[in-house]
């Protein structure tokens, strides 16, 4: 079940109205490598993952992607909200205005509508997790492209944050894939048993942790 928290994950501000940038940004809303694709892909794949850690990871990253979707929506909303139809037309958003006025919609930067063909679920964890890693890398690249397309500091800050998150997600998916591959190589290793797949031993076995040791 999903609970909605009425705040953005990060504060978001834009310096000025920029319709052309809004047109580019929308690809991370409803485009092939955008947050909607990511969220729906992970939240759908999680049902048939073979181990608990992968189910948790896909659920949690999928949920975070919905929060990122909201950030992109906020950026576009703030960039577009005061635009006149004439300004929309001049920015190449005349078609969008005809179909949607200033409403947001799930499409790529060319206006192609979102499609489930952007995602896949093969029901086999190596294929699915490999796709997830690729998806995160593609999203990272798209953010790099978008950052280069603007000099608005507010937009750049938000996009830089989102790009960093994609890097972290990619790292987690690589670890999840490793666990599955280990399981396949060594059938004595049950992927629902917890141990550090990298070193083969339990990490951080210190049982005398005080909160003060952690907070500085």
């Amino acid at each position: 079940m999903w609970i909605y928290e009425k705040k953005l994950q990060i504060p978001v501000h834009v310096e000025k109205c920029d319709l052309q940038m809004a047109k580019f940004l929308i690809t991370q809303y409803g485009g092939p490598d955008g947050e909607l694709s990511a969220a729906l892909r992970y939240l759908n794949q999680r049902y048939t993952m073979p181990n608990e850690r992968a189910k948790a990871l896909l659920t949690d990253i999928g949920t975070e992607e919905l929060a990122h979707l909201e950030i992109i929506a906020t950026l576009v909303y703030k960039l577009v909200k005061d635009a006149t139809p004439d300004e929309m037309k001049r920015a190449g958003l005349g078609g969008h205005y005809a179909d949607h006025r200033t409403a947001l919609f799930y499409s790529d930067a060319q206006g192609n509508p979102w499609t489930a063909t952007y995602i896949q679920a093969k029901g086999e964890p190596i294929a699915d997790l490999t796709e997830d890693i690729a998806a995160e890398e593609k999203a990272r690249v798209t953010y790099e492209n978008l950052i280069r397309l603007t000099d608005d500091r507010g937009i750049i800050d938000a996009l830089t944050y989102l790009r960093e998150r994609e890097v972290v997600h990619s790292q987690r998916f690589r670890e999840a894939l490793f666990i599955v591959e280990e399981h396949n190589k060594n059938h004595k290793y049950d992927s629902n048993q917890y141990y550090n797949p990298m070193s083969g031993s339990e990490i951080f076995t210190n049982t005398n942790i005080n909160p003060e040791d952690i907070l500085r």
């Binding site: 909605y4 951080f204 909160p211």
Partner: protein, 92 residues
């Protein structure tokens, strides 16, 4: 870890309080994803619990002053029903 909202008696501006919540929650999101892959990291679990408690304190303070951050029963509402009134995140 000190922050203005829990250590100061002066009124903290809404934006600052919200930012502290966002920063704290970010650490917890990161810890969640990490722990999903490394559930036996005792230190990380401990850190998660300490930060989680801090977040609850901050959230309660924020919500008491500025209205609920959640619907569906997470936090009580003043009269009339506050949820529709509190600012929507994309307008902030």
């Amino acid at each position: 870890m000190n922050n203005a909202a829990t250590t100061s008696c002066k009124k903290v501006p809404k934006e600052k309080m919200l930012k502290e919540i966002q920063e704290l929650q970010f650490a917890l999101v990161e810890l969640t994803l990490y722990l999903d892959m490394y559930p036996t990291d005792r230190r990380a679990v401990c850190q998660y619990n300490v930060l989680s408690e801090k977040l609850n304190v901050l959230r309660t303070q924020y919500q008491m002053e500025h209205g609920a951050l959640f619907a569906f029963g997470e936090f009580p509402s003043k009269y009339p029903w506050e949820w529709v009134k509190t600012p929507w995140p994309w307008e902030v």
